[in-house]
């Protein structure tokens, strides 16, 4: 024991770090901040360390070459001892990190911690969020499979829409005219050197400010932040109702950090690593690329926006959101901190969460995508064929053969791009059906050039049978009226 303290003293004589470390550890924090709500920042830092360690381990095997990356990932999954587990830890760690950073941000927002004097801590935090998302996207590229390849194409298509600099931005992003070796290499440099370097710097700055300015006190409804008096009030609070950070508050951080690491490890163990999916070979076109979990909402949004709104939304949307986040502490730097008296803040969070959740959910079954194999794979339910004429059955064949089923479902089977046709005859008359099939419209292609008159007749005859048993098909009231008043007009 004596020896250890002697060695310790020897080092501290030279390092002189014991006193500042003790000062940091024992700095007083308001007692009520020793809460389970205040553990997300340290949890994000913990997962970041996990990502650093597992990332370095993966880099020992991974080959950042478009020709070999995929094989090196296979090798990690199948040949290298526990390679699959390290990949799984890194992949799940990435998902956890994005989630925890978002939760941390929501907590900070709802607790008004971005207000004076912590404006810059928030702004640095916004950059940390952007870098975390940058790591998530570039990491997905390094998992160089089909999803990564086509995901890069999507990124390039988005970048290309920037006015004036679009084509240059694409070449800069891809490292050349196409997605190839240079593309992967530069995303490797971004993912392994550039963004982590900036992350480490910004995390240090973020932490330094948390220590210097003190942790945000528990917001009390009615206790308003005023620039003139805040510092005095905060120091008074820590003096009268404060406790040393270590050990008073830190034990909850420690427990939560360990719990999160355990959760990442459990997911890694149970679910295993992410991909890689198919080989990144652009000649394999039978693929439906999808982004990773945290970008699924964007994938859904890009499917649902009207075409004319898409480019403005892609170019202006992110700028507006980021500017809003950066300006937030200046727009409301003082005043009420408690979420109990900030209904707009709470509603904003709810709105954003519900929107992102809905879009993510929608991307799970992509109602906007044609079902590529529905025409050849999905059977026509028996009830739609029972007692039909030869012409109507011929129409059912046309319906399948011309791939109408890829976008229209019958009996809940088939695409959802267009409306389900189980009861289309109730909605559209014969003339309207013919017009819709031949001319298209309302987001449906025109089939006039692809159907012979006989095929159209058969198809429409089949569609006219699609109505519930007790419900009559739609009829042209105008036509009937005229036929009633002028019976002779009928042929």
């Amino acid at each position: 024991m004596r020896l250890i303290s002697q060695v310790g003293e020897w080092f501290d004589r030279r390092l002189q770090l014991a006193a500042p470390i003790r000062e940091v550890a024992e700095h007083p924090v308001p007692r009520n901040t020793a809460s389970w709500w205040y553990v997300f920042g340290s949890a994000a830092l913990t997962v970041f360390f996990l990502q650093l360690v597992t990332g370095i381990l993966l880099a020992m095997i991974y080959v950042p070459s478009a020709g070999e990356a995929w094989s090196s990932l296979q090798s990690l999954n199948h040949d290298v001892t526990l390679g699959w587990f390290i990949r799984a830890l890194h992949g799940w760690g990435s998902n956890f990190m994005v989630a925890i950073v978002l939760i941390h941000m929501v907590q900070v927002f709802l607790f008004g911690a971005y207000k004076f004097p912590r404006e810059l801590t928030w702004i640095v935090g916004v950059f940390l969020l952007l870098m975390t998302l940058g790591m998530a996207f570039s990491g997905q590229v390094l998992r160089f499979d089909q999803d990564a390849y086509w995901g890069l194409g999507i990124g390039a298509s988005i970048a290309s829409r920037a006015p004036l600099i679009g084509p240059l931005a694409v070449k800069l992003m891809l490292g050349g005219p196409i997605i190839a070796g240079a593309t992967l290499s530069r995303f490797f440099a971004l993912h392994v050197f550039v963004i982590p370097g900036m992350l480490i710097g910004f995390v240090c700055l973020h932490l330094l400010m948390v220590l210097r300015l003190g942790i945000n006190e528990w917001p009390m409804p009615g206790r308003l932040v005023k620039k003139a008096t805040y510092a005095t009030e905060y120091h008074e609070l820590t003096r009268t109702d404060g406790a040393p950070f270590v050990p008073y508050a830190i034990w909850k951080d420690l427990f939560f950090a360990a719990f999160i690491l355990l959760a990442v490890a459990a997911c890694a163990l149970y679910f295993g690593p992410f991909g890689p999916t198919g080989r990144p070979d652009p000649t394999i076109i039978q693929t439906s690329p999808k982004p990773d979990y945290f970008f699924l909402w964007l994938y859904a949004l890009l499917s649902l926006l009207p075409p004319s709104m898409e480019t403005p939304a892609l170019l202006i949307g992110p700028v507006v959101v980021i500017l809003f986040l950066l300006l937030l502490p200046f727009l409301s730097g003082e005043g009420e901190k408690s979420w109990r008296r900030r209904p707009i803040a709470v509603l904003t969070i709810l709105l954003v969460a519900i929107s992102l959740g809905t879009l993510t959910r929608l991307s799970g079954y992509t109602p906007w995508s044609p079902h590529m194999n529905a025409w050849s794979g999905d059977p026509v339910p028996e009830r739609f064929l029972h007692g039909t004429t030869a012409l109507e059955r011929q129409g059912a064949l046309v319906f399948q053969g011309k791939q109408c089923r890829n976008c229209h479902s019958l009996g809940d089977l088939g695409g959802q791009r267009g409306p389900a046709l189980d009861s289309v005859a109730v909605r559209l008359t014969q003339d309207q059906l013919i017009r819709q099939v031949i001319q298209g419209g309302g987001n449906m292609p025109a089939y006039g050039k692809n159907l012979s008159p006989a095929e159209t007749t058969a198809l429409v005859a089949f569609l006219e049978t699609l109505h519930p048993a007790g419900q009559a098909p739609a009829r042209n009231a105008a036509l009937e009226e005229s036929s009633e008043s002028h019976p002779s007009a009928q042929p």
Binding site: P177, A180, G181, P280, Y299, T311, P370, W375, R417, N450
Partner: protein, 180 residues
């Protein structure tokens, strides 16, 4: 002249030192920026704009659309399979060809051809195109990208070294491509 305003010998040296570093940094910045932007500037060296063959004219029956693959003329040692690209070749009649990029004009996903319905469909966000490449429905703002093509010594050749992106032509909202 008061002593407060006087430039000391060491102060002058420090300023000269900063100036010297500034000059060196500027001199080094030129090659660094040049390197970073090389992917843009090298593009103008147009090695990738060479014409590449897709196969003999006879491989493509008249009135049909077939998948063809080609190798990008611009290959680096680490590219692997990524320089192999697919495209859709439509032989309208005789020597009249249309060669479409595989990339959807929305966000670049690979479109598939359905000869039965005469449509190209995209699996990502549901874009659809007619057989002549014009937009049929879905989120794309324009028709499929068409590579410049010509027949040379009985071979269908195209100029296709670049990843087609909707960028510059996305502004042509509502304007139909020439093939529509």
């Amino acid at each position: 002249m008061s002593t407060e305003n006087a430039v000391s010998r060491r102060g002058l040296f420090m300023k000269l030192g900063i100036l010297f570093n500034g000059l060196v940094a500027t001199a080094l910045a030129a090659p660094i920026v040049g390197f970073v932007l090389s992917s843009i500037t090298r593009g103008r060296a147009n090695a990738y704009l060479a014409w590449v063959p897709l196969g003999s004219v006879n491989e493509f029956p008249e009135g049909e659309t077939r998948l063809a693959t080609f190798r990008n003329p611009n290959v680096t040692p680490t590219d692997g399979k990524t320089v192999e690209t697919a495209c859709w070749v439509r032989r309208v009649e005789g020597d009249h060809f249309q060669v479409f990029a595989i990339n959807c004009a929305h966000l670049g996903c690979p479109v598939r051809w359905f000869p039965q319905s005469g449509l190209f469909m995209c699996p990502c966000h549901g874009g659809a195109y007619y057989r002549d490449g014009s937009r049929a429905s879905g989120p794309p703002e324009r028709g499929l990208f068409e590579y410049p093509s010509k027949i040379e010594n009985g071979l269908v050749t195209i100029q296709a070294g670049e990843l087609p992106t909707p960028g510059p032509s996305a502004a042509l909202v509502g304007k139909k491509p020439p093939c529509a």
